[in-house]
Symmetry: D2
Subunit: 342 residues, 4 copies
């Protein structure tokens, strides 16, 4: 079969022929219909320091997808041939303290699809049955493939209820944009989105942002105070991974407010814990992964019921073999989500 493989300890990838993956008794074989590119894939492509540390070639990359089950192992009971599926990208162990306590999103032993296990940028994919998710019929392929990152946004927005609350979203990459649509769908009364990229700010408007801010030219904190009668916002959602943005978010938050953080930082962060967290009695939620599978149910409903229309965020589609066009667009920031059709 054809697949996009990280073959070497160097920049780049290759679109090559590889054997169809083998499957075990509890595995399913999936024919991939579409996959989408995550920032992580770009890091692997670029062979950044993080990638060199975390990734071992050769490996088929990619962890977002939609496909059809074409074969199941003898012991499989949770999926059937013909099911149109996506999957949780954390292949969890199910026996660690976290898994057994209902926190498998932070499983101590998980393997990541496309990093520790051959990924979704190929014609076929093998997965253990317990991570497979059956898609709602009325969700089109190009939406079904983005459910994994959409789920990140769901958990970031809904760490606590946002109904009738004021929300500041830092970072309008695809996940920040999903979060904008979700916050709007869940009744946030005011949504401010901040990003230095005006192209992405314009998409955020389509997703429901009431106010957009370019932090290169505008003072986020002052704007947040101005539109909240000097109280600050109830909720900050941090997707930028930028320490300065984080500090602004903390300043912009009202006493007794909360911030949920999904963004990843280049290095350790420096914050004014006394003034912005302790004396304001702020709650901070670190966010990673998705609740398995309650987040997937929510995601599916947001998309299938019409509550969130992610179309403005899915800006480009290419055949799998043209994956490098997607990688380039991602690096240039001139896209929302890029979908690869197989």
């Amino acid at each position: 079969m054809k697949a996009v493989v990280k073959t070497k300890h160097a920049k780049g990838m290759e679109y090559v022929n590889v054997p169809t993956p083998k499957m075990g008794l509890r595995d399913v074989l999936i024919k991939v219909r579409a996959a989408s590119i995550c920032g992580t894939d770009v890091h692997i492509y670029d062979w950044t320091r993080w990638a060199q540390h975390r990734f071992t070639p050769p490996r088929i990359i990619g962890h977002e997808f939609v496909g059809t089950v074409v074969k199941i192992g003898e012991e499989v009971t949770l999926a059937g041939v013909g099911n149109r599926v996506s999957a949780e990208s954390h292949l969890t162990c199910r026996y660690c303290y976290q898994c057994k306590n209902g926190y498998s999103e932070v499983c101590r032993n998980f393997k990541l699809l496309g990093i520790d296990h051959d990924g979704t940028f190929g014609e076929y994919l093998v997965l253990p049955e317990h991570v497979v998710w059956k898609n709602e019929e009325n969700i089109p392929d190009e939406w079904a493939t983005i459910q994994e990152p959409f789920g990140n946004a769901v958990d970031t927005v809904l760490s606590e209820d946002v109904s009738a609350k004021t929300v500041l979203i830092l970072g309008a990459g695809p996940i920040g944009l999903f979060a904008t649509g979700i916050a709007r769908a869940c009744g946030a009364s005011l949504i401010i989105v901040s990003d230095p990229n005006n192209y992405r700010l314009s998409i955020s408007k389509k997703m429901g942002a009431h106010i957009t801010v370019n932090p290169r030219r505008q003072d986020i904190v002052q704007i947040a105070l101005d539109v909240t009668q000097n109280n600050g916002v109830d909720v900050v959602l941090e997707f930028s991974g930028n320490n300065q943005a984080l500090n602004q978010g903390l300043k912009a938050i009202t006493p007794a407010g909360r911030i949920s953080i999904l963004g990843i930082y280049e290095r350790r962060v420096n914050i004014d814990l006394n003034k912005e967290v302790i004396f304001k009695k702020v709650r901070i939620y670190g966010i990673t992964g998705r609740k398995i599978f309650s987040t997937w149910y929510k995601t599916s409903r947001f998309l299938s019921s019409g509550l969130v229309d992610p179309s403005p965020i899915i800006t480009h589609q290419f055949p799998l073999k043209d994956y490098e066009k997607g990688m380039k667009l991602m690096k240039d920031g001139k896209c929302g989500k890029v979908v690869l059709t197989v």
Copy 2:
């Protein structure tokens, strides 16, 4: 001044001249601009058994309103002359166990506006400063007056998050209709509204109901199961005060779901606690009053931000002296909310 007064231990009320109410050091005097009729007021008008037990004439009735502060007591600091205000109808004691623990909505010693304290169906009204709520400028008078019952709906809907959840609303009186709009604004993925009154069901459609059910002709439970892949709904909101509807709601709820109950029943209720609550691990929330003032903030934001447009529910407006037209409409069920202008 002119006011609608329950003067006698008998059916009916009178529109009469009464003295302008006196005020204390911590009170404010309010010129009423508009008031709205609650089912409670109809009970008092009709002198039902409940009213005979609870109400002592003579008393100006009414507890929903919007008005302007025209005078403040010497010790008042929480409101000023000229403020356009509404108010919490529970005049709370602030020193009981409930008040001191943040549950003043169930204050052990509260007095009810329009029952224990002269009400809002008059030209002027005196209230202790601590129950007064300053209205957002962009909320029109006919919306501002209905914030008190709207708040009941807010607390019923939001006892837990409804985002991406399936919701069954039992009873499409004004509060059930507010709840429909709120649930829709907060991202419920499916809203079923049940009521025997087709006129009200048609309003519920305008407020965002996906499915309407007339329980006289349709099987609520079966419909709820059919549209949820036989799981039942995640959330039931019970406003009908009807034991049969309550039982249907309990049957329609999915295991691990929740029901919030605001409806008042004619007598003790009979339920299958084993099958519908215990074995399904259901949570039941009794709802009364409003959180003071967090519910008012939410209410204000739903109305001022455009998240909920209550216009379809405010079906009639009359001058105060024509209050009997409103009482009649309420009894006939041929209205949503009736607003009286002063």
Copy 3:
């Protein structure tokens, strides 16, 4: 092997030779060390109406136990030979809406050990690996076997925090007694236990009850009000399955309090929903099963850390063949928990 089997559609059971159970690829074979008797087992023995409706002979009964894994299926990864284990008695499906949302305690398709699947009152037992729980070393066998019902008590007590709260416990059967010990360990500031059986009240004293009440001679509601400055208790835990006790519990609860209900009622219940739930804004939690496995972790820690000493509740031990002595004691109410050694 020897086992206690419900062989006929009639009162009684038999201690007979049966084949050692067969196992599948994902199953484990366990040599039982001890099992304990639940009220459910007595119902099956007595062939009550409930049992006739729910149970199909022949079947080995029993669902509480501790044992040693002696063989594992080829696909088993979650348990190993030699592990000293107990198990969740709900054999859950893992693919229904409830299981996938983290509520497998109300799985739509669960099978009950000792009812739908051969039970624990025999020398050997086969179970699917995913319900098996590895015991802490320092928990003795006679404590390990009662973890299943102890878990019911954990979830009833801890539906919400009880720290520094006043608690009324209705029913001092084994689960009510476990709950008494747990509430005390978790910092309840006042614990009242009510039961008509003085023998069990005396055990409740040992478990930490501050006040015991015999409802045949004393007025529970009045006592609860007297010791709470007329506020009522913050928390009611209902284990009695008695409608009158439930009504007293609801009356005894303070406004904004909560009640958790595990007791099973003989028939539908009749309650004053207006006065005792709605106007008091009470939360009701139906409780069943145990969170899999977060409740098991808590249970294990309560027992292994010394926080709860269940010894006063484990009143009798017999060899398995003398199970009828245990059944008789249970019916007479002259015991706490009865453990059968194998």
Copy 4:
């Protein structure tokens, strides 16, 4: 009357004669029976940079106390002459966004007793009625005076339930020691306390610590992992205000765990947000003040019911005039809580 007054912009204080404070219509006059010294008072004594910035002499200092109401203003309804009282030290505005939403512990306009309003280190004290707390009769004076800092510990421990959880407490000053007793009373299954001061570690043992660690000689993180089967602790409570301790706490926490932070840092903090918070999905609670008055109820019950015995922490008592002895002990770290009798 006699009082301890910070008279000058310099190190030290004076025990001098001052006029008895004046009272308004809603104030109460309290004869102080005992007061206790907080670290804040030592900062003011020492005229540290923080104190120079925040404090304006002359002012009677102190914010912890117990006393008797000897006179009430004409409009006072919430307290009476003869009441033995303590008080919330945040004199809240009751009209800001935070106060009206139930978060008056982070009131936007609060005044601090002993800093913005004459404090408790004098014979008499005037307070607005709404901050006064009536003490339980069976709580002795030397315990009643420490309820204010005890409440800090209550909110830190109970941001989430600690029952059957493993807990690491960083810092064994008086509040960390109160927290140790509270965590033990609330059913924490394992409590590790870390502090470089062995004297305080020995008190922590008396308060219920299972393990004590001196971070100068031992590796907190390794110990926390060793005793939790390498999972890390469920809960970290940070009272040290030390960035290094904070980092160790974050490392010691299990994925999906939580940390509550009351300690105040000398400067901005530096943390590994990616690894220790985001990828572990940790929740951080900033803690300040006390919930008014729900925390006070809990505090009162912990002390009056015998759940927590703070005696080992109250190490010294002096007459008010000897306050300097207390200041010295505090600086030397050779004490728990120092109580001044008036």
